[in-house]
Amino acid sequence: MTPLLELRDVTKTFAAGVLGRGRNVALERFSFTVDPDRPRVTAVVGESGSGKTTLARLLLGLVPPTSGQVLFRGQDLHALNAAARTDFRHHVQAIFQDPYEVYNPFYRVDHVLTTPVRKFRLAQSKSEARACIEDALRAVGLQPGEILGRYPHQLSGGQRQRIMVARALLLRPRLIVADEPVSMVDASLRATILGSLRKLHEDLGISILYITHDLATAYQVADSILVLYRAAVAEAGDVEPVVQSPQHPYTQLLIGSIPRVSTVRDWASEPVQGERDSTPAGCRFADRCPSVMPRCRTTVPPLFQTAPNRAAACFLYDSAPALPEGKVAAVLAAEQAKAPCAAV
């Protein structure tokens, strides 16, 4: 079965420094597939600079890889013919972080909804188009009467972001890449927006790549999770075991650092190692790792498959078999019980 979208051993580097002599590795030898027949919600979690937004931009074809390939239905994304390109634009949709920047302030918000209907000929008549749009808005919890005909500045950030979800829904894509879709909206609204995304997946079988720095929402929304640390996968697998019993020391640090709403003040219980510094030769987490061993400083650990549905890039687990290069998708696609739907 040809994957819908595939990253094959992709590396992306950016020039750095005043004269562009340095190199920043944003994503290193990364492989990932989106299987059209087994839609999943996959969270990509990492701190700023971990490569998560670069991953989104590569998948959307917004930047070309430095090496490796991005394939859409088996064809190079950057060499698609016109028909395949239209197909790609129809079936891979994006929701971005900033619900303010994606709108043209001079157009009514209707514009972002009517344009795809027209371009992809989703409706036969004006009234059918209108009905489609209204249905999509209702599906994400908006009242069409309060939204249509307004300008972006007349709506709240949460409303604008939900219109973007409605827009994605209108197209019935196979994949939605959502890059920090709720980091700029209030906590009380986050749940509503993420709930609508989850619902799109459950009702319409749309795969979702949820890119975030927020592990708690990732846990609530996703079936599986990829934890990125400095351009590479630190840990991957089903979201439940990864969050409840993280294996990679970085994932452990990340989860331990989340301030919890609890009367137990466990937050400051252990000191945290220093901030990251220059790129080491071996494991990128070696400088901060409480369990660091000599070989961590010289050799990059591969992903060890510690269970059918999870893997960690850490020598602590070297008794487990190493995953073949680029096979991280294997642990993400392992069969598992369907996650319960998050209530909206």
């Binding site: 701190e47 700023s48 709240s156 949460g158 409303q159 209030d186 906590a187 009380s188 609204l189 986050r190 749940a191 509503t192 993420l194 709930g195 989850r198 720095h213 927020d214 592990l215 708690a216 929402t217 846990y219 609530q220 929304v221 439940e240 969050v243 640090l253 990340l254 989860i255 650092s257 989340i258 301030p259 919890r260 709403v261 609890s262 009367t263 003040r265 937050w267 400051a268 000191p271 945290v272 901030e275 996650a339 319960p340 739907c341 998050a342 209530a343 909206v344």
Partner: protein, 320 residues
């Protein structure tokens, strides 16, 4: 502790912004006290008035905003009675602010050493070079930065380091109150934890009180002693943090806590229905009634008064 004289007392403070449709009240009759060494949290959604509150305490509200009434007392000093020059001296020395965007608060073309030196000099502490260098060094070490940071420009520092540099500036005159307005909202969780630990440690060493402004209830739960919840410009509930988490009295507080995604169990994604009201178009009665699951007829017409519900706690709800 509850008998100690308050270090800061906010009394019936009101702040309004002039708007084409009349004044918009961003802080509406807010009162609370801050004890020495206390960590007090101010939480609420965007637009709830929490940042305006922080600026009003420092009397930094600019037109079209205006402090309409009420008083802020720093120990025995009523701040509204001070001349502009006296207020300027009191900022940093008496009440210091750790700003939200440390990225934009430091001067990009001045070395960290000189930014700290300027702050000291501006408040009348002119030190010989040697002493200044020693003072800067001590401050940087206090906030967990290497002493070499003094020679650096802000762009050479990471987000966490910049925020620490801001904390160093905030504590350089040993203020009695530190106001931290979402000090870690732009940082990753690991760095956030380090910066908050630093803030907590220097606060304890100085014996200062802290007002932490933010919307992250997890951060509040882990850091503050007492929490105030703001909604539509009013302080709708104040209580010791443990009581607020285990038994919130105001329905808004309860929904706010419930809306946080849990790391313990799945299926906990629940939003607060409806939208935060626009301050220029507040519903009559209790401003929360259109979103409140417990609202009754009375809530639609009668604004609930703030009433005490314990030695350290108040609530503004007819039924709490």
């Amino acid at each position: 502790m509850s008998h100690a004289a308050p270090v800061l007392r906010v009394d019936a403070l009101r702040v309004a912004y002039a708007h084409e449709h009349g004044a918009v009240r961003a802080v509406d009759d807010v009162s609370f006290t801050l004890r020495p060494h206390e960590r007090f949290g101010l939480a609420g959604e965007s637009g709830s008035g929490k940042s305006t509150m922080a600026l009003a305490i420092l009397r930094m509200i600019k037109p079209p905003g205006r402090i309409e009434g009420g008083e802020v007392w720093l120990q025995d000093t009523p701040l509204s009675q001070l001349a502009p020059e006296a207020i300027r001296r009191l900022r940093l020395a008496g009440i210091a602010m750790v700003p939200q965007g440390s990225m934009n608060s430091l001067n990009p073309v001045v070395r960290i050493r000189d930014q700290i030196g300027d702050a000291l000099a501006d408040h009348g502490t002119k030190l010989p070079r040697r002493e200044l260098a020693a003072r800067v060094r001590d401050l940087l070490v206090d906030v967990g930065l290497p002493p070499e940071t003094a020679d650096k420009y802000p762009h050479e520092l990471s987000g966490g380091m910049k925020q620490r540099a801001c904390i160093a500036i905030a504590i350089c005159l040993r203020p009695k109150v530190i106001i931290a307005d979402e000090p870690t909202s732009a940082l990753d969780v690991v760095v956030q934890r380090q910066v908050m630990e630093t803030l907590g440690r220097v606060q304890a060493e100085l014996g200062a009180a802290v007002i932490l402004v933010g919307h992250d209830m997890g951060l509040m739960a882990q850091f503050v002693d007492r929490l105030g919840i703001m909604y539509a410009g009013r302080l709708v509930e104040v209580a010791p943090i443990r009581d607020i988490i285990t038994a919130p009295r105001h329905p808004y507080t309860r929904l706010l806590i419930e809306s946080l995604p849990s790391l313990e169990k799945k299926g906990g994604l629940r939003g607060i229905p409806g939208l935060a009201p626009l301050l220029r178009d507040l519903p009559p009665g209790c401003a929360f009634h259109p979103r409140c699951p417990n609202a009754e007829a009375r809530c639609r017409t009668e604004k609930p008064a703030v009433r005490p519900i314990g030695p350290d706690a108040t609530v503004a709800c007819h039924f709490a």
